[in-house]
Symmetry: C2
Subunit: 402 residues, 2 copies
């Protein structure tokens, strides 16, 4: 039987071992948490030192490319959809800002190929996983995440409410909506919401064969919305038949995603920081490294009544604008030339050629085609539809027939 | 004083607490390690299920875009330089393969803006940090890292040895060399090594103002090497004076890096998996979303004797090739048209215009300019330099004068 002395020794041994174990636990916790976070930056510094995560960007201001870098500070943008990873470079560029993320999907192992999601996040909602990863990259950004499908009625209403009131100062709208979704219904929902709210947005997409993609800037009332004209795609010179086999899952190339995401976010930056020329439509054909650009004005016969209303308001504003300002802004503004589709080419086609364009398929630059043509029964119904009565459901039902 | 019973009770308490502490420690270790790794994949599956990380890529084969996806399995490529992150999408695309990474730099907080390096890696060598991050993304890739500057003589010799013998089967050369460096000397070192070894490589770069970039495919003897012609840059319509202020650090836009890296890796994929057209030169002007392409053949008066020797060998091979094959391959081959710089434009300039090109500055497509012209004393010395006597040092000394 153990003596008191022996037991006392054992107690001391155990106490020491327990202290060591707890110390190790603390160290592990510390290591883990320091591994996951850099400290927040209280004040953006323009100091050119390697410890300043914003130093390389402040250089843009010093070089005269960006006039006012600080604008980034108050910028909040908004992302929706499958390709949240495209948002990450924005975060690394901007200072304190706010992101609203909307997505209904969960992380799968097949999503690991884009560096963004991590294996241990499998099963989490994409917005949760995205917030977690993004927060580690840039703790200076705040997040609001919504794990739902924006195309159902209740969610759509909430989605509209958050776009129009979810700005950095609660009650103000967001600065920009980014669409990175992979299906028609979600795009139409974003289009409908943005037309109603007059919210500027950027659309992006990659083709099913993963070798072409595009980005598009939509300014309600000014440039063509998603319902103004059939969606455009960049032809990749591949036999279409090989693409439409039943039961074949869409391909996905992280490289194509990367290029499209890169040009999307670059254009977001140019738009928000006011440098360079923001592309209205920029296509990408990965097979030939071909990048066609074009601009499309809004279609006066657009199916979406809110789009038509925005066009009226835009015309009024343009008419009211003092002449001097108009001249000054002309360089940056979309050039308007009428043809049946309201589609206007930037440089590849002459005005005369453009005027001559006719038929249901617009005259497009080489390499761009429409995804489909709108059948006769869906032709714009003009003034016969009352502006206030065309609901999202009506619109979607019409478009679904396509 | 404590009784035996009291001491025994205390021992039991401590033992229980210690067990709990150790259990927690194990759980933490498990959580941490599962957080960092997905299991290796023994056999590439073409099954279209979300748990297959390669499913989206195998779809490329089913769609007829890629003939033989399995080629990825035996592919090993090689990266060098500051922008290792560009390699990550390759890893996610390829099955078991091997990467050799060469870089002398350490991770700094300013490098965090590209999602790739993580805050806790600050201070680690970039190759170590890269290997760690990449291994977590794709455990099916093996790595060989070298933390040194390739431009010193001893390292250069080792670098050459590893390019020519570091293939997946030891003793065979690597499949492709990728240059993602940010300085002239490192590019010249890679150029010299690849010319001597006849190693195909791809060069990439981003301008100091961070708003333009390019990629270039160099096939020794066939297309222009880095010494054949002055480096080309994509003009960004920015006052050059603002870019050359003393002491101003180069800007860096993760978006520009992302686009250039995306088109680089996309072209690596096209090259290795044999689909689409690989661009010989593809520029990117972020200000205007302008992407000029061109092809340049090797310059018979190139300063690099190994380049000239590769040109001789290429001519011999072309001459020996049966006529039938030549016809078949003509579509994909570089078109050769002589002008002073051996620079040949793909589509924007006619043959006649090309022939008429003269002077030290080649006739280039709109938007592309040379970074500098080569001064008279550095003009190619033709046959007066003995082929075997021009060492790396000579070459570098010559180029440094520029």
């Amino acid at each position: 039987m153990a003596t008191v002395e022996e037991l006392k020794l054992r107690v001391r041994e155990l106490e020491n071992e327990l202290i060591k174990c707890k110390q190790k636990q603390c160290a592990m916790e510390d290591a883990h948490s320091s591994e996951l976070h850099r400290p927040k930056i209280d004040k953006m510094s323009s100091e050119v030192v390697d410890s300043n995560p914003y130093s390389r960007l402040m250089a843009l201001k010093r070089m005269g490319i960006v006039d006012d870098y600080e604008v980034g500070k108050t910028t909040h943008s908004f992302g929706s959809g499958d390709d949240l990873p495209v948002l990450t470079p924005i975060l690394s560029v901007f200072a304190p800002s706010q992101l609203l993320l909307f997505d209904y999907d969960k992380v799968e192992l097949a999503n690991m190929n884009r560096l963004f999601f991590q294996p241990h996040q499998a099963g989490l909602s994409k917005v949760e996983a995205a917030e977690h990863t993004l927060r580690n990259i840039n703790p200076d950004v705040s997040f609001e995440t919504h794990n739902y499908n924006i195309t159902t009625m209740a969610n759509f209403t909430h989605f509209m409410e958050r776009i129009s009131h979810g700005g950095l100062e609660e009650g103000t709208p967001v600065d920009l909506v980014l669409s990175c979704v992979d299906n028609f219904e979600a795009r139409m929902a974003i289009n409908t919401a943005c037309n109603e709210l007059g919210q500027i947005w950027m659309e992006s997409g990659v083709s099913e064969n993963a070798v072409s993609g595009h980005i598009q800037l939509i300014i309600p009332g000014e440039t063509a919305c998603f319902a103004c004209a059939p969606p455009l795609v960049v032809a990749a010179n591949i036999d279409e038949k090989t693409l439409k086999r039943e039961g074949v899952c869409a391909a996905s190339l992280p490289t194509t995603m990367g290029v499209v995401a890169g040009i999307l976010v670059q254009n977001v930056l140019k738009y928000l920081l006011k440098f360079g020329t923001v592309s209205y439509y920029l296509g990408y054909n990965a097979m030939q490294d071909f990048f066609p650009t074009m601009a499309m004005k809004a279609n006066p016969q657009c199916n979406d009544s809110f789009c038509r209303r925005q066009q009226e308001e835009y015309k009024k504003k343009e008419a009211e604008r003092p002449k001097v300002e108009v001249v000054e802004e002309e360089e940056e503004a979309v050039v308007h030339e009428d043809n049946e589709w309201g589609i206007e080419l930037v440089s590849e086609v002459t005005d005369a050629e453009l005027q001559a364009a006719s038929g249901t398929v617009p005259d497009l630059p080489e390499g761009i085609t429409v995804a489909y043509t709108i059948p006769a029964e869906c032709e714009p119904s003009g003034e016969t539809v009352q502006e206030t009565e065309q609901s999202l459901e009506d619109l979607m039902a019409q478009m679904r027939k396509l």
